[in-house]
């Protein structure tokens, strides 16, 4: 696993580390694992990581938000931008089980825009063409 971005977002209770790591999977798929809160401070890191993937011409992308506690509108905007810039044959899946994050996706109406699945396995199934996990 290769760390592609490290950021620290500060809160009153102390510094919460933010980390994005990237891993190449089968089926021409890249996995971005995000850890920490995705907010105004950390969203740019996610954006750069996604732009790197596009530059590397990855066919499919899985963004793992399993260890993300919060996502704000800026980070959502980054994901929207990534989704819109992907080519027709490219699939983007988001792995997320966290209620807070799912609710934010739902509130903003973006849950209909992304393929949001509870586990990495579902994501891989979706990438491989199975549509069973569609939310």
């Amino acid at each position: 696993m290769q760390a592609v971005g490290v950021n620290a977002s500060e809160t009153n209770s102390g510094a919460v580390s933010f980390l994005i790591s990237r891993r190449e999977l089968a089926h021409d798929t890249s996995l971005l694992s995000v850890e920490g809160d995705l907010d105004l401070a950390s969203a740019p890191s996610l954006k750069w990581a996604l732009e790197d993937l596009q530059a590397a011409e990855s066919r499919n992308v899985i963004v793992d938000l399993a260890r993300v506690g919060f996502i704000d509108s800026t980070a959502l905007g980054v994901l929207v931008g990534a989704q819109r810039s992907l080519g027709s044959g490219v699939r983007l899946a988001i792995v997320c089980e966290e209620e807070n994050v799912l609710r934010i996706f739902e509130l903003t109406g973006l849950d209909g825009m992304f393929e949001i699945v509870p586990t990495l396995q579902y994501a891989l199934s979706y990438i491989q063409g199975s549509n069973t996990a569609a939310g």
Binding site: T11, N12, S13, G14, V16, D39, L40, A41, F70, D72, S73, T74, G77, V80, G81, Q83, R84, N100, R103, E106, L107, T108, G109, L110, D111, G112, M113, A134, G135
Partner: protein, 690 residues
């Protein structure tokens, strides 16, 4: 003579001077014999004096044939001229202007019309003194005044034989003293030596009867010059022994007002101004500051060396200061000079930066005013009430004074309805400004065209998306009908509004419409709330609920609590203040807009939910969740979705409306009710069908 007087440079011609001059004219007429003899000896005048006195004003020399006058007359004249001199000295703006005048009627410095060598030498010498002063002071002089004064006095003087004898004696004494001082100072220039020799020669003979003094000016502001001390010396002499010619040949005084003279001399040395009308006739003004550089300070007063010495002794302050200054080494002087320069530099720098600061402050105020004007264009001033509804709004940018990505508007529609727009463009600050204006005015236009909030969003979103250029925006549109007491709102990726009296999580968030610019159709949801009693509807941007408190999100729950805690008539500003007080980090802009609806105690309730479904949406899990949340029985879900898919297949989308109330909702499925906005597309379809 009068003409010449006019030619003199007198910055502020005093009345006393004019009087003195007229008196001189009269005297000139009374003294023909002396004048004749003087003229015969040397007809050319004035110009030579000017040539001999480098620092002096051009036609400085005045020649007045003089003859002995009686004592009383002389005294009057002296007093008058002194007043004139004092007046010019202090009123003419020349600091420390010096005027020296003879008391004895013998012409000294600068008076050349007598044409004899001695006198020329004398004048040259005084000229030297003046040169010293003028050279150091940059040639600024107060000649006119002193000359006039001197002139008027000189004319009045007659020299008695007795006086001559005494004068000779005193002259000798002064000469010796000067010699001593020169030796002390180690400085004696040639001109001075010549002058002294000439003087000695003259002293041997009987002095010429009556000559008019033309006093060379000793420069103004001679504070730190040798001239200063020279004049001071002259003053001492004058004070003690009576009138003296400016640093030159002393003459017998016919006036003795010694006590006054002493006081004045002392005052002068210690920097005091010369009192007008004081008794001392001949004024030699010198700033009291003794000069450390008084290298060549010849004693000019010839009279009363004893008096002079005595005078110095009687001024211990001056003596002490002079001594102290005298022992300061050159290196220290250099250091003082450097420090003075540094002080001047610092003062200049400080002044410049103060000016710059003032200018920047002014520019900042102007800019803030401009920003305020622009912000007012983006964030309108709301009327306190719109019909029966109190309206307040507040905006808190995350940084800086200007508006950022949040926007709001509240305005009246037809039939007494009120419209609300609150939105947030991705990003903030000035980059978002063009988009916020675009969104606000576009959405307002659709609402004013009498579309419902959902219809307005549905119709405006495609056009806006093209213009947002990759950005996206969340927005909530609402209308309130006071007669029906119905609040209708539609969100596009935006938090639902809060209503007091209704749980904050009542709204169905499943199947929320996406933001404008996300690449998906929006304006797919609408909620209608009946507000039977008093309530406050709170519209806000996500910056409010995403503020942090101790690492946690502020959230809708806390916001609803804060709203309830504000009492019966909360304002948006007080709500945001409350949020600010309850959070420690507010990374995003915050905007809030409140509608205060008056009424009884009944609580609001949702009466209708609308959702627009296309074929794909109708088959998704989230649609099932929405139906379940709205209270649709599970067994009817499949049937409803099948019908919706069928309609969507024909018309692109189906509009499902759920009338909520007691029991299961009444459902109505229609095809897209914004068909009028797509009339052209429908007509084409019909043509194809035919």
């Amino acid at each position: 003579m009068a003409r010449r007087a006019g030619a003199l440079r007198t910055p502020s011609p005093p009345a006393g001077l004019a009087l003195a001059l007229s008196f001189l004219i009269a005297l000139a007429a009374l003294l023909p014999a002396r004048a004749d003899s003087a003229k015969s000896s040397k007809p050319a005048k004035g110009s030579e004096a000017a040539a001999l006195v480098p620092g002096a004003q051009p036609p400085a020399a005045e020649t007045v044939p003089a003859k002995p006058v009686n004592q009383r007359q002389a005294e009057r004249l002296l007093k008058r001229s002194e007043r004139a001199a004092a007046k010019t000295g202090s009123g003419g703006g020349e600091p420390g202007a010096t005027a020296v005048a003879p008391a004895g009627g013998e012409v000294r410095a600068g008076a050349t019309h007598q044409g004899n060598t001695r006198h020329r030498a004398g004048s040259r010498r005084v000229g030297d003194g003046a040169e010293h002063a003028a050279g150091r002071q940059g040639g600024e002089t107060g000649s006119g005044e002193s000359q006039s004064a001197a002139r008027s006095v000189a004319q009045s003087q007659a020299l008695s034989t007795k006086a001559k004898a005494k004068k000779e004696r005193e002259r000798e004494e002064r000469r010796q003293e000067r010699e001593e001082r020169r030796q002390r100072n180690g400085h004696e220039n040639r001109k001075e030596r010549e002058a002294r020799e000439a003087e000695e020669a003259r002293a041997a003979e009987t002095p010429a009867p009556v000559k008019l003094l033309e006093a060379p000016l000793v420069s103004a502001a001679t504070a730190v010059t040798s001239a200063a001390s020279a004049v001071a010396g002259a003053e001492a002499t004058t004070a003690a022994g009576g009138p003296a010619i400016a640093g030159e040949h002393a003459v017998e005084s016919t006036i003795s007002s010694r006590a006054a003279a002493r006081r004045r001399a002392h005052a002068r040395r210690s920097g005091g101004a010369i009192p007008t009308g004081a008794a001392l006739p001949f004024v030699a003004l010198a700033p009291a500051v003794a000069s450390p550089t008084s290298r060549s300070a010849p004693v000019h007063g010839k009279h009363a060396v004893k008096h002079s010495v005595k005078k110095r002794e009687s001024s211990p302050l001056v003596t002490t200061v002079t001594r102290i200054i005298g022992v300061i080494p050159t290196s220290l002087w250099l250091l003082i000079a450097a420090l003075a320069l540094a002080a001047v530099a610092f003062a200049t720098t400080s002044r410049l930066s103060a000016r710059r600061a003032r200018r920047l402050d002014r520019q900042r105020r102007d800019l803030l005013e401009d920003v305020g004007l622009l912000q007012a264009a983006l964030l309108p001033e709301l009327p306190a009430r719109l019909g029966p509804v109190r309206t307040t709004a507040s905006y808190r940018p995350a940084s800086g004074p200007g508006a950022g990505g949040d926007f709001y508007d509240v305005f009246a529609l037809e039939e007494g309805k009120i419209a609300v727009i609150v939105g947030d463009v991705s990003g903030h600050g000035r980059d978002a400004l063009p988009h916020t204006t675009l969104l606000r005015y576009t959405l307002r236009t659709y609402l004013e065209a009498d579309l419902s909030p959902r219809e307005a969003l549905r119709a405006a979103a495609p056009a806006l998306e093209r213009q947002l250029g990759g950005s996206f925006a969340t927005v909530v549109l609402a209308t309130f009908d006071p007669r029906e007491r119905l609040l209708t709102y539609a969100c596009a990726g935006h938090p639902h509004p809060l209503l007091t009296g209704m749980a904050h999580d009542t709204a169905i968030i499943a199947c929320s419409a996406p933001p404008i610019g996300a690449g998906r159709p929006t304006g797919t949801r609408q909620t209608v709330v009946r507000v039977p009693g008093a309530a406050v509807a709170c519209f806000y941007t996500d910056g409010v609920i995403e503020a942090r408190t101790g690492g946690e999100l502020y959230g809708q729950g806390r916001l609803a609590g804060a709203l309830d805690g504000l009492g019966a008539e909360p304002t948006a500003a007080s709500l945001l203040d409350s949020v600010r007080d309850g959070t420690d980090r507010r990374p995003d802009d915050m905007a809030a807009c409140l509608l205060g609806i008056s009424g009884g105690g009944a609580t609001p309730e949702i009466v209708s939910e609308q959702i627009e479904l296309d074929g794909r949406e109708a088959g998704r899990n989230r649609t099932r969740r929405f139906l379940l949340a709205a209270g649709v029985p599970e067994r009817r879900i499949a049937e409803v979705l099948d019908s919706a898919r069928a309609i969507a297949a024909d018309h692109g989308s189906a509009l499902l409306e759920l009338k909520l109330g007691d029991g299961p909702p009444r459902m109505t499925l229609t095809h897209d009710n914004i068909a009028p906005l797509r009339a052209r597309a429908i007509a084409r379809t019909q043509e194809v069908a035919l």
